[in-house]
């Protein structure tokens, strides 16, 4: 972690749609944790969705961890390196994927941070602000995982927990 001076942890999702708010909940929890355990160089942000201006946002960082809710077939969470070559465009969508943001950053600014996705399993998606119990448990586990890396200055690359069929 020492080679990364400027780190951004970026949660996204709609907290008004139950477990889609996992990204925002993670950032809120991280804010509390950083107040107790200050770590220079770590910035936090969250938004409803990723979009093209995030390419400029991450261009000023050395490392970015995107945090999002997942509907994929995973157990609790995964932590994967983002491959910009996986960028793809979606029909009439007003949002883009983490890989798209990193790829756009690379092509526009000729550099891009090391980027990872912390993907936390969600279950309920109705109009409500509270996370489901199972998603809350997954949030805790994912939070412990990431703070352990930060606290002990571990390598993010060595921490990758992947699943073969997870795509960005």
């Amino acid at each position: 972690m020492t080679r990364h001076q400027r780190i951004l942890i970026y949660g996204y999702g709609n907290p008004g749609r139950q477990d889609d708010g996992l990204g925002a909940a993670f950032i809120a929890k991280m804010e509390d944790w950083l107040r107790q355990n200050p770590v220079p160089g770590i910035n936090l942000d969250c938004n409803y969705q990723l979009n093209i201006e995030d390419a400029e946002h991450i261009a000023h960082k050395d490392l970015v961890v995107f945090v999002d809710a997942s509907q994929e077939d995973i157990e609790d969470y995964t932590f994967t390196a983002i491959n910009p070559n996986d960028a793809r465009v979606e029909f009439t969508m007003h949002a883009v994927s983490p890989a798209f943001v990193v790829d756009l950053c690379r092509k526009m600014f000729h550099r891009a941070p090391d980027a990872y996705l912390l993907h936390i399993k969600g279950y309920e998606w109705d109009f409500a602000e509270q996370l489901s119990d199972a998603a809350t448990r997954n949030l805790e586990a994912a939070f412990d995982f990431l703070t352990e890396i930060i606290r002990n200055k571990k390598s993010f690359d060595n921490a990758i927990i992947t699943k073969q069929d997870v795509t960005h």
Binding site: D20, Y48, I52, F91, T92, S97, K107, F127
Partner: protein, 483 residues
């Protein structure tokens, strides 16, 4: 053999669209339908909630235009708290809301142009889909991509400063606003280092418009020939007929420009507009009651707004408006792809309005909220980037919402989007046995011109590919393609 072609975006949670195209045995297009699954449960969800929560609650509807819902709800609740209909707020309250709204317009229109529509023009409707997006622009015209990204960022920062935060902003409250603009915020937007300042945004908006006009001058036949059909047009206009995206009276004109809805007070919209339910679609079909279901449908959005408005109250956009109107000899413009032209004129207008507002000392005032005699019912209308947005609430004696009705912009454009798909399908698919990627994208181009919001309410990381399924007359799947 009759064939049914289905173009189906697969979505994540709810809200999706698909296109079905029916061909007869001779390859003629018999019927086209754009199906959009619209989540209607929200109106029931807000029932029973305290009315003052609505401006924040409604932002759950959409991750891309939460500001439009936030402001439309606040405008409806202005009426309920006795603050009047759009004109009763304090100068600071109204102008802060306008700044938020025009910031939203600016960033939303910039996204649509640079990310969703310009790539179609730069690389062609049948261009390589891998680069037919802003990444392709970044590779071939990097300065244009930077403009798009930074224009989005500027608009987002305006929203953050006026709404208070990126997610679930709280800026607009019933009867006004909960914060003013600080001198530091104002100066940052006015005098910030290039490119993030208002002057640069005005000049970039002008450049984007010039880019489109240049493209149009070389491709007039293609643009004018794409899904051109007559329609009615509806939008808010200021009482003197000016383009106004935040407040006004409701006006509709027919395809010849004759007024068919005469600048009505939108509190009475139910007297003039009705929504038809069709068995094959979850999304309703609004129409003007006075004309009827068959011919009373209308378009909303940039094209409609520049057809209903008589002038634009900022100088650069007005100059462009005059050039634009001359193309149709002052008559309503019914060219589908001129939606992009109109959108870019509005982008320039939004940049000018933002700059003017930032120079207005009222934004720094402290008189933020007004209250009056409480009412039981209120309607809030606003021009969202993609068209007219209706919010209607009624409350009970316990200050709880007992009725909510929303007509969102994409619903207002339901019939014209269907007609555009039909037009394009007939033009490019008649007699064809193979559905090419270019054909598929042409259908998308027709839909995309309206900038519909199909599935923005939630977004857990997932996919929205486009899928085409080909069925025979017995509904047996004979081919399927996915982008």
């Amino acid at each position: 053999m009759t064939k049914k072609i289905t173009i189906e975006p697969v979505t994540r949670v709810e809200g999706h669209g698909k296109v079905t195209i029916h061909m007869d045995h001779q390859g003629n297009i018999q019927q086209t339908r754009l199906h959009i699954v619209e989540f209607r449960g929200f109106e029931r969800f807000v029932q029973g909630r305290p009315y003052w929560e609505a401006p924040v609650l409604v932002q759950r509807l959409c991750g891309i235009c939460p500001v439009s819902h936030h402001l439309a709800a606040a405008k409806a609740l202005d009426v309920i708290v006795g603050a009047g209909t759009g004109e009763g707020l304090t100068p600071t309250g109204e102008k802060m809301r306008r700044l938020m709204h025009y910031g939203q317009f600016f960033q939303s229109h910039a996204l649509h142009f640079f990310h969703l529509s310009a790539p179609d023009f730069l690389f062609g409707f049948d261009g390589d889909p891998a680069i037919r997006n802003i990444i392709g622009i970044a590779l071939t015209k990097p300065e244009l991509a930077v403009q798009g990204v930074m224009m989005r960022k500027f608009g987002q920062e305006i929203i953050r400063a006026t709404a208070g935060k990126k997610i679930h902003g709280t800026g607009a409250i019933p009867g006004g606003i909960n914060k003013n603009l600080s001198i530091e915020e104002r100066d940052e937007f006015l005098k910030g280092a290039d490119p993030l300042n208002a002057d640069k945004m005005v000049s970039w908006a002008q450049e984007a418009l010039d880019f489109f006009k240049y493209f149009y001058s070389s491709n007039k036949e293609m643009i004018d020939g794409f899904a051109h059909f007559p329609s009615n047009h509806l939008s808010l206009v200021r009482k003197d007929g000016a383009l106004d995206l935040y407040h006004g009276v409701l006006r509709a004109v027919d395809t010849d420009g004759k007024k068919i809805l005469h600048d009505i007070d939108y509190q009475e919209y139910t007297n003039y507009i009705e929504e038809e339910v069709r068995s094959w679609s979850y999304m309703k079909f609004p129409y003007l009651k006075s004309i009827g279901k068959e011919n009373g449908w209308y378009r909303v959005g940039p094209l409609a707004r520049l057809n209903t408005a008589e002038f634009i109250p900022t100088p650069l956009a007005q100059k462009e408006f005059e050039i634009y109107k001359a193309l149709t000899n002052g008559k309503p413009n019914n060219y589908c792809l001129h939606m992009h032209y109109a959108r870019l004129i509005e982008t320039l207008h939004a940049a000018e309005v933002i700059r003017d507002l930032l120079n207005d000392p009222d934004l720094l005032g402290n008189d933020l909220v007004v209250k009056g005699t409480k009412q039981k019912e209120g309607v809030g209308l606003i021009e969202a980037p993609r068209g007219t947005l209706f919010h209607h609430y009624r409350i009970n004696d316990n200050d709880q919402i007992e009725m909510a009705n929303l007509i969102v912009s994409t619903t207002n454009n339901n019939e014209p989007m269907n007609r555009s798909v039909n037009y394009v399908a007939k033009a490019i698919m008649t007699g064809k046995e193979i559905i090419t990627e270019g054909m598929m994208n042409s259908v998308e181009v027709a839909i995309r011109a309206y900038d519909p919001c199909l599935s923005c309410a939630t977004h857990a990381l997932g996919k929205m590919p486009l899928e085409i399924s080909l069925y025979d007359e017995d509904n047996n799947l004979i081919d399927r393609k996915r982008s």
